[in-house]
């Protein structure tokens, strides 16, 4: 449904706006890379625009930060409907390494509704192009949704004192987190 909507509404002209809500720049540069000669996103009608008011698509990079949440929400509201949101990179998809830090809220879906996820740290330009092409209905999805049960893994502490030998097996002591 979404794909048909995309095809109908956006055709061969997808204007994207990229909002970095607090990431490290890596994804920004890869997005920029996707526009340059080797990858050339413009052949799909994709154009980077400077204002959310001109855009069909928002590319979110970086985790949702406490400091920029309000601004990100306002940028999303400024886009005319129909609109799509892409979360680009591990931080935007899941919060990244700092997902639970005091200054970070988590993945951007906590602030704006996300339609497509492009993981990677940073994702390659090819991956970004593939994601956008998927949204446009130019290619097929390569993965299917699966139920994943979150496992709690103990964080091993690689410290000689914490390694105990138990009958030929080395046992890590579970680390206290703080």
């Amino acid at each position: 449904m979404l794909r048909q909507l995309c095809r109908k509404m956006f055709g061969r002209s997808l204007w994207v706006y990229h909002a970095n809500s607090g990431g490290c720049n890596g994804c920004d540069i890869e997005v920029l890379n996707a526009l340059t000669p080797y990858y050339d996103a413009e052949r799909f009608g994709i154009k980077l625009v400077g204002s959310p008011r001109h855009a069909d698509v928002m590319l979110c990079q970086g985790p949702a930060m406490r400091s920029t949440a309000r601004a990100l929400r306002r940028a999303y509201e400024a886009m005319p409907a129909p609109k799509l949101v892409f979360a680009i990179g591990s931080c935007a998809c899941g919060g990244g390494v700092w997902h639970d830090s005091y200054a970070v809220l988590g993945p951007v879906e906590k602030i704006v509704p996300v339609d497509f996820y492009i993981p990677g740290c940073p994702p390659r330009p090819e991956a970004i192009l593939y994601g956008v092409a998927l949204a446009l209905g130019l290619v097929d999805k390569k993965i299917v949704p699966a139920e994943v049960r979150a496992e709690v893994l103990p964080v091993p502490k690689y410290h000689p004192e914490d390694l105990r030998r138990e009958e030929e097996v080395t046992v890590y002591t579970k680390a206290e987190k703080f």
Binding site: C24, N25, G62, S67, W98, D100, E161
Partner: protein
């Protein structure tokens, strides 16, 4: 002046105020100074011994020594010395005389430890909040050891907005950001303009403050942190990665094997190449020369591919562990790298000529965004900004690390201090980087790439490390600790200092020149903000993005 003489001069001058001097490793000093004398010591070191200000670090050391610590770091570039001037403060009244009056470059760093650690710089000329988000309550300091890394105060208030200062009379305020069409990263500026002329600005940044230093001190381990350090910045990540590993090695007295040092050098220079190419491309883009922007990115792409072949990733290389590196440069990879460098050199020659001959670029950049040697000294500006002003500093030569003492290269210096000089410095540094990589590939001997570390690293040791990033010196300060992780890790990225120079660079210039003046320092907010969210002021931010330019243009039209 030799190192010993310097130390004797300080002792003679200040007597008992210098309580102790430790030489933690060659060229790394820790001087413990009485807190009441710290201002005078720093003034003397900065003004009369001509040291370069590096950074100030605040530490909550209460669980270990029962005190707060403040460290003002200075560099003696001609003698290859990095010195930390440490003051111990009582736990109940963490106050220290501010040195920002004597050393203007310390302005931000002191505001940062006031926010994050709650150490009060007494007599600071502008003690406004710098780093923490707007809604963060006063009196809660996330870098104190009794504050958990994921703890958000209950009285956190979403609705609080930043309070800007009043603009000067007769000026119009032009707001930018935080999401601006092509501000690559979030930051907010309020420019005060009078007609076409920028009279000043207020900057509210530190929106990318992710709490990285706190995470490192509370949940990561020594060998996890290089991964985290790399994600401080997506462009110069490897620099932070190497600088952190070197800081820990300097604290713990570990010597990485020679081959690892060569590999570090090669990867650092690869990163400098791709970063400088990126910058030249973006600078041309800001100036409206899009053909060269596309050319620069085309030339740069093979560098990303070879980086991926060596390390498995285009950007974040995961290069270092403490005591070595992970990735080997095999003979086939070395041969391929040589081929790429040959082609790059040829193509970059053409670009350099195109830039040099282009009158538009020269007219847009000559005499714009001036930073002279005096400003460089006062605000501690770094890297190509300093070298373009005739200040001959380069950590690769002044504080040799990795294999830089075994290769030959020139430090590129220009004299004019304008944006054009910065373009020239970066364009020519590309050739020096190519030269360095070739020598490394030549001189690398086969051997191990990791030093075995069998024993626990001793806690409480201080390590200092400076690495020349594409934008200037990245400085890391590490205090080793228990539980296989450091007690304190402080990162000073070059943009942290360079950003403070931007207001002076753009003052009384036209609005249209502002973007390139900002762009010319190659700003990197994620590096600057790494620690926490803060609000800044007084500073100006420079961003190189198209969006900002467009914004500026729009702002002018509507004027």
């Amino acid at each position: 002046m030799k190192a010993r003489e310097k130390e004797r001069t300080l002792r003679e001058r200040f007597g008992a105020a210098i309580r102790r001097t430790d030489v933690t490793s060659p060229g790394r000093w820790c001087l413990y100074v009485a807190p009441e004398a710290i201002r005078e010591v720093c003034r003397f070191v900065f003004r009369e011994m001509d040291a370069r200000y590096v950074i100030s670090v605040g530490m909550d050391d209460r669980p270990y020594s029962g005190r707060f610590l403040v460290s003002h770091n200075f560099a003696f570039d001609r003698d290859g010395i990095l010195a930390a001037f440490l003051a111990e403060l009582p736990p109940d009244r963490p106050e220290i005389p501010s040195i920002a009056g004597e050393v203007p470059a310390a302005g931000w760093a002191e505001r940062e430890f006031r926010d994050l650690v709650g150490i009060e710089p007494k007599g600071h000329p502008y003690p406004k909040r710098l780093v923490l988000p707007d809604g963060w309550p006063d009196g809660v300091h996330p870098l104190r050891k009794d504050h958990a890394w994921n703890e958000v105060p209950e009285d956190w208030d979403d609705e609080v907005t930043f309070r800007f200062d009043d603009p000067p009379e007769g000026c119009t305020v032009v707001p930018f950001g935080p999401f601006h069409p092509t501000l690559d990263e979030p930051a907010h500026f309020r420019l005060y303009v009078e007609g076409e002329t920028v009279r000043g600005c207020e900057y509210r940044g530190f929106m990318v403050h992710r709490g990285i230093e706190k995470l490192a001190e509370s949940v990561m381990s020594y060998n996890d942190i290089p991964m985290l350090a790399e994600r401080i910045c997506g462009i110069c990540g490897c620099v932070h990665n190497v600088a952190y590993a070197q800081a820990v090695e300097s604290a713990a007295g570990i010597q990485p094997p020679p081959r690892a040092e060569y590999i570090r050098t090669v990867m650092l220079e690869l990163e400098r190449l791709h970063s400088h190419l990126l910058w030249v491309g973006l600078a041309c883009h800001i100036l409206g020369f899009d053909t060269l922007f596309m050319q620069a990115f085309r030339i740069r792409e093979p560098l990303m591919w070879i980086a991926e072949k060596i390390s498995g990733n285009r950007k974040t290389y995961s290069l270092c562990l403490v005591g070595g590196v992970r990735w080997e440069i095999t003979p086939p990879l070395a041969a391929e790298l040589r081929g790429i460098l040959d082609r790059l050199e040829k193509e970059w020659n053409e670009v350099a000529q195109a830039v040099g001959r282009d009158r538009n670029i020269q007219r847009r950049t000559r005499g714009v965004g001036m930073a002279d040697a005096r400003l460089v000294k006062e605000l501690g500006l770094l890297g190509p900004v300093a070298r373009a002003a005739g200040v001959d500093i380069d950590c690769r030569r002044d504080h040799p690390y990795a294999a830089y003492d075994r290769v030959e290269f020139d430090v590129v210096v220009e004299l004019d201090g304008d944006v054009w000089s910065r373009v020239l410095v970066r364009v020519r540094e590309v050739f020096e980087s190519i030269r360095i990589i070739r020598q490394c590939l030549e001189k690398m001997e086969p051997g191990p790439i990791q030093t075995p570390i069998d024993e626990e690293l001793l806690p409480g040791r201080i390590g200092l490390s400076s690495v020349e990033a594409p934008r200037g010196e990245s400085h890391h300060f590490v205090v080793t600790g228990e539980n296989n992780r450091p007690r304190r890790w402080r990162v000073r990225a070059p943009t942290y200092q360079n950003l403070q120079g931007v207001p002076a660079m753009i003052r009384d210039q036209t609005l249209a020149d502002m973007t390139i003046a900002l762009g010319s320092i190659d700003p990197c907010f994620s590096c600057t903000d790494r620690l926490e969210t803060v609000d800044l002021r007084t500073g100006l931010v420079k961003v190189w993005s198209q969006a900002e330019l467009e914004q500026l243009v729009r702002a002018r039209k509507s004027h």
